[in-house]
């Protein structure tokens, strides 16, 4: 899941100040699954903004809507009327959703209510952790199914480094050294010899370092 985290209320109040009639728009896939941007969270946030506005005697209705995914033009277009009726939109989607809104509604102020954090897994209710950096060139076959790009603070390809102590990373005692985990797992699978092959210098162009990425399925797009 793409995880998003609602911004601090103070920051949201500052960004939405003076924008008058405001639409708080939930995004009911990844953002809802992150328990940050579903309609429920949108209602809660709208209530908080209304309270803040009452206190500062700021005019402007705050209302709520939601779409299945703000990253799909067909869904975004379904709230065209609601967007047109508002002065600004506070989007609770990830960065992609916020930008698609901005693209579809060129004359509207679009405000991000969430920070997009990472691609990760749910550990348990309310706890998510990063697993994938979207580098565009998966090497998990060579690292025992554990990603050093997403999970090593230095993104080392030939780890571990000298900062690995008792299985933990030097940045924090709470962070596992992923290279320790890789070695433990390959030992268990009796495949440690994989690591004898040295990773060459990584080509970061599929990771976006060569400019914004685009994916085209010729058979479908033509």
């Amino acid at each position: 899941v793409i995880t998003v985290e609602q911004k601090r209320l103070e920051e949201i109040l500052e960004m939405t100040k003076g924008h008058g009639r405001l639409l708080v728009l939930g995004c009911e896939t990844c953002a809802a699954m992150s328990l940050s941007g579903g309609k429920k969270q949108a209602e809660e946030l709208a209530s908080a903004i209304r309270i803040a506005r009452k206190q500062s005697q700021e005019e402007g209705e705050v209302f709520v809507d939601a779409v299945a995914r703000q990253c799909e033009p067909e869904f975004v277009d379904l709230v065209e009327k609601e967007v047109e009726q508002s002065r600004a939109v506070l989007s609770l989607a990830c960065g992609a959703g916020v930008q698609l809104l901005a693209e579809r509604f060129p004359n509207k102020v679009i405000i991000p209510g969430c920070n997009t954090t990472f691609l990760g897994v749910t550990e348990k209710l309310g706890v998510w952790s990063e697993r994938c950096a979207g580098c565009g060139n998966c090497i998990l076959d060579k690292t025992g199914g554990l990603c050093p790009i997403a999970r090593c603070a230095k993104q080392l390809l030939n780890g571990p480094c000298g900062g690995s102590t008792n299985g933990k990373c030097e940045i924090s005692r709470d962070v596992d050294c992923v290279w320790q985990l890789i070695i433990d797992r390959l030992t268990r699978l009796d495949r440690l010899e994989i690591l004898e092959e040295i990773f060459p210098v990584k080509d970061w162009s599929p990771a976006g370092h060569g400019g914004p990425r685009k994916m085209v399925r010729e058979d479908l797009a033509s």
Partner: protein, 381 residues
């Protein structure tokens, strides 16, 4: 009709006999029939083929309720002697199945009586993780006291006992229902349910067993897309009650919106007394504080509350004690938001209800005083 005592019977006992022509009228609103009831078995004497024991019919086959007379089935008080209406209805259903077999000349065994299978349908976690409540005892007067006065010997339940007794009921079929159109398969309900009821299949479809679900409300509150509704005390009813209570009390200041857990040991009279003694309190009853989230707290302030109080039932009366920590977590979250909004976290209070009654008066006095000193909520209503 008036009666008079008749001639003594063989045992020397005189029973009342109606006085001819003594009919009279009474002007009343309600009539409660409190006459003794017994089986009129006079018809049995004309049925020599029917096996009898005293004045009861013998059901030869306890499964089909067939009697010794082929094609005749019997059940209810005529067979068991005085019992409940439910037992008689059940016997009727079994006899009907027995007749069906008889008419089809089939020997297919009848299904097991439902009383043997029904309790086992409740799954393990429901039995293991909900608090057990014993049946309330109605008090019988000790013999010595009965001799010395005219007090009721077998008393009925007082209001609070009756409420406690009613709350023991399982809430089968009153619980969570998932709206498939809205559900995004986020698994929050699966993870938050204290009784492990919601189950997901490979395609992410969520199934909530209507018998197992006990309507605690955790999933409905946490569902990020509002795809879950609870039949028992649905959330929108609570919000409507809050809106109404706030509009009815708009002339009062300050106002403390107070959520009282229905599992506390209190009755309607306690609520009435609270309203009279503490006009500043706007009481609302909820089926567990686990039903209250940040949205509800903020809503109360939006509607003009100056403070919000959450009164938890005593720990041992909470049917889902595991949810209490989650309530604390939510209130910490709500406090942080109130702080960020400049309302001040001290306008949100939680307390435990006493063993008996609604709330301790000393606590309420202090709270009302404190909120008065704080002054009205900074929101201009």
């Amino acid at each position: 009709m008036r009666n008079e005592l008749g001639e003594p019977d063989a045992g020397g006992r005189r029973s009342p006999t109606p006085l001819p022509g003594s009919e009279f009228s009474l002007n009343v609103d309600t009539v409660i029939a409190a006459i003794g009831q017994a089986l009129d078995s006079s018809f049995l004497s004309n049925e020599p083929k029917l096996g009898k024991k005293g004045n009861r019919i013998v059901a030869k086959d306890p499964d089909t309720l067939a009697t010794t007379h082929p094609g005749v089935f019997a059940g209810g008080d005529a067979v068991t002697g005085p019992a409940t209406a439910v037992a008689a209805i059940a016997a009727g259903k079994r006899a009907a199945l027995g007749m069906d077999l008889y008419l089809k000349k089939a020997s297919k065994p009848l299904p097991e009586p439902e009383r043997d299978t029904e309790p086992q349908r409740i799954s393990g976690p429901v039995i293991g993780k909900t608090t057990k409540f014993s049946r309330s005892q109605n008090t019988n007067l000790p013999v010595s006291n009965r001799l010395s006065g005219f007090d009721e010997v077998a008393s009925v339940f007082s209001e609070d006992l009756a409420t406690t007794e009613a709350l023991r009921c399982l809430h089968c079929h009153l619980g969570a229902k998932v709206d498939r159109e809205k559900c995004i398969s986020c698994l929050t309900c699966v993870r938050v349910c204290p009784l492990e009821i919601p189950k997901a299949n490979k395609m992410g479809e969520i199934v909530i067993d209507p018998v197992d679900c006990q309507a605690c409300g955790m999933c409905a509150l946490e569902c990020p897309v509002g795809a879950i509704e609870i039949s028992l005390h649905p959330h929108h009813d609570m919000v409507h009650a809050m809106e109404k209570a706030m509009s009815d009390t708009s002339h009062i200041s300050p106002r403390i919106v107070s959520f009282f857990d229905l599992h506390g040991n209190f009755g309607a009279k306690d609520l009435e007394r609270l309203k009279t003694h503490y006009p500043n309190v706007v009481p609302l009853t909820v089926f567990g504080l686990r039903r209250i989230g940040t949205y509800d707290v903020l809503k109360a302030f939006e509607l003009g509350a100056d403070a919000v109080l959450l009164a938890a039932c005593p720990h041992e009366m909470d049917p889902f004690p595991e949810t209490r920590n989650k309530v604390k977590g939510r209130m910490a979250h709500a406090s942080a938001i109130m702080e960020a909004l400049g309302l001040g976290a001290n306008r949100l209070k939680t307390c435990d209800m006493p063993e008996k009654g609604l709330i301790l008066e000393t606590f309420m006095d202090e709270l009302v005083q404190k909120i008065k000193e704080m002054g009205p909520s900074p929101i201009q209503v």
